[in-house]
């Protein structure tokens, strides 16, 4: 009995192991972008949409324009901060809304199975078979059509952009959550809880979601990265958010001037790249940490 009463040594300490350097680099960049997005308006920087005719295309480290200006005289730093706001807003809302819808559909269809599950899987596969760039392109050109006489407002463009990205995200996170739910709902503890008379809703809330959430979170981070890329690609194709309001849009506006003011391209591209890499790295980190936890059980 004495031996039996002893519990295994605490293994939690290994979770407190030193985190890799990349964790801090990626983490600080993401925090920086979030801060810029939320508190950017309070920074002592010039207006982002105001052209300074006395300083066109000045290079970075200028005394009044720290990251220089574009050939049209727009302040780069202010533009990047404003772009962070828009990029974070677009990507977060698309991933959060799409992720929530996708997860609800994925989890419930995998938990209850049956015909609905087959239909949901088919729908996800159909949605995934459409290239996301093409989907966004056609949605924007239909729903936010604009020509010289009827220009679409920026708000409308942003709205349609978020909608199209949400539609792209739904099947991605839906499939992940469906797969994870299939795996977890066949575990014995679900049956054990069921045998105690727990309702399906409570089982999903207390047993499925805590186990599925990490996988969704990990893929969610990767999805934020790819959403930022899609936003940039659409801008370069000329149907994103106009007027240099987002990173992609700044890149699109500046790419013709690469020979005269290369920072116009490098800076927004660098921001996109760093953010995407940080998100991907974070997603990987979340996943490997959780894999470790799973293997310990």
């Amino acid at each position: 009995m004495a031996d039996e009463t002893q519990t295994m040594p605490e293994t939690v300490t290994s979770a407190k192991k030193k985190k890799p350097v990349g964790f801090y680099i990626a983490g600080s960049w993401i925090v920086l972008i979030l801060l810029a997005a939320v508190f950017g308006w309070a920074l002592p920087a010039p207006q982002w949409d105001q052209s300074f005719y006395d300083s066109l295309g000045v290079s970075p480290f200028h005394h009044s324009h720290i990251l220089g200006t574009t050939l049209d005289g727009y302040d780069m730093f202010a533009g990047l901060v404003n772009g962070a706001r828009l990029s974070v807003f677009v990507s977060l809302s698309a991933v959060v809304v799409g992720g929530a819808i996708g997860s609800v559909i994925g989890i419930s269809s995998a938990y209850f199975r049956g015909r609905i599950d087959i239909l949901v899987t088919m729908a996800f596969n159909v949605m995934l078979s459409i290239p996301n760039l093409v989907l966004s392109l056609s949605l924007i050109s239909v729903l936010a059509f604009s020509d010289e006489n009827h220009p679409a407002t920026t708000a409308r463009r942003v709205g349609v952009l978020i909608l199209s990205l949400t539609i792209v995200i739904i099947p991605i996170l839906g499939r992940i959550s469906r797969g994870a739910t299939l795996q977890w709902s066949s575990r014995e503890f679900v049956l054990a809880s069921k045998s105690m008379g727990t309702s399906n809703f409570v089982i999903i809330r207390k047993h499925i979601i805590p186990n599925v959430a990490p996988a969704i979170l990990a893929i969610g981070f990767l999805a934020i990265g790819s959403v930022i890329i899609v936003e940039g690609s659409l801008a370069v194709l000329g149907i994103g958010i106009p007027g240099g309001a987002s990173w992609g849009s700044m890149l699109a506006n500046g790419r013709g001037n690469i020979a005269y003011s290369p920072w116009e391209v490098y800076l927004p591209a660098g921001c996109i790249a760093l953010t995407v890499i940080s998100c991907n790295w974070f997603g990987d980190y979340v996943r490997t940490t959780l894999d470790k936890r799973e293997s310990k059980i």
């Binding site: 009995m1 039996e4 009463t5 002893q6 519990t7 295994m8 605490e10 293994t11 939690v12 199975r113 575990r187 014995e188 503890f189 049956l191 054990a192 809880s193 069921k194 045998s195 105690m196 008379g197 727990t198 309702s199 409570v202 207390k206 047993h207 805590p210 186990n211 799973e294 310990k296 059980i297």
Partner: protein, 324 residues
Amino acid sequence: MSSLLKIDDMSVRFATPRGDLKAVNNVSIELLKGESLGVVGESGSGKTVLSRATMGLLPSTATRTGTITYQGQDITALPKDEVRELWGTGMAMIFQDPMTALNPVRRVGSQLTESLTVRLGMNKKDAKEKAIELLKRVRIPDPEAMLRKFPYQLSGGMRQRIMIAIAVSCEPELLFADEPTTALDVTVQAQVLDLITELRKESNMAMILVTHDLGVVAGHTDKIAVMYAGDVVEYAPTRELFSNMKMPYTEALLKSIPRLETPTGSRLPVIEGRLPDPTKNEPGCPFANRCPYVTDKCRAEKPPLTDGGNNHFYRCWFPLGGVK
């Protein structure tokens, strides 16, 4: 004592690509209040399916026929919601593997109080107190600290105690124990079985103990049903079964338990051959191909369940000790 559970002519079939798989065939069993029944058989004999089917915990590919009367009520006719009302508070189950039957990401406390709050409507504080009391009942030292632990921090025996505490938390009348000690260390097995028996005696709880080990059921059950290939092949009070064994299969099961007296290096006793294919419908006794006493009659015709007196039933043409 009055009847608690009466299974009448229950069969379970699974739909498989190779045809219907007959997991349980026309089983009839009766259990009184506070009584314990051992269901014994080798892997694949249908004993786990029998217990899960009785509770109604079968996957959707299974079909169940026959009637199950629980406290005078036919539960096969009840809608799903009302059957669920019985789970936990009427019937509860202890699962075979305590490693997988606890949720790895939730603390012991939250899993233990789950059914208390959800099923019995207790508030958090009462549920916590009850959980501590339950942990004391299953002899867990320092129950307050246990509530904050994760399953992976516990040994197998401790986890099985937690599973038992969860199963008895809503004070069920009938406890299904599906190989509760198979995944445990031999030294812990006896403790866990004694614990279950003690808990049963305390609250006059009936039990169906499913196991492949005849030694396990001997001291912990009032009667035994031996299963083979989905059939109950021998059904008798425990003492009667061990003193007056009728089935060659039961004898073979008993012989296959390794003994200390056997000389070192000798082969472990086994039952030669395999279970018949449960998707095929072959004539004759399903044990015929493995039985040391097989005759032509055994291969041609399946024996019926015969009453041998003393509440002893068997399914054999040539029972050990002869026909009375």
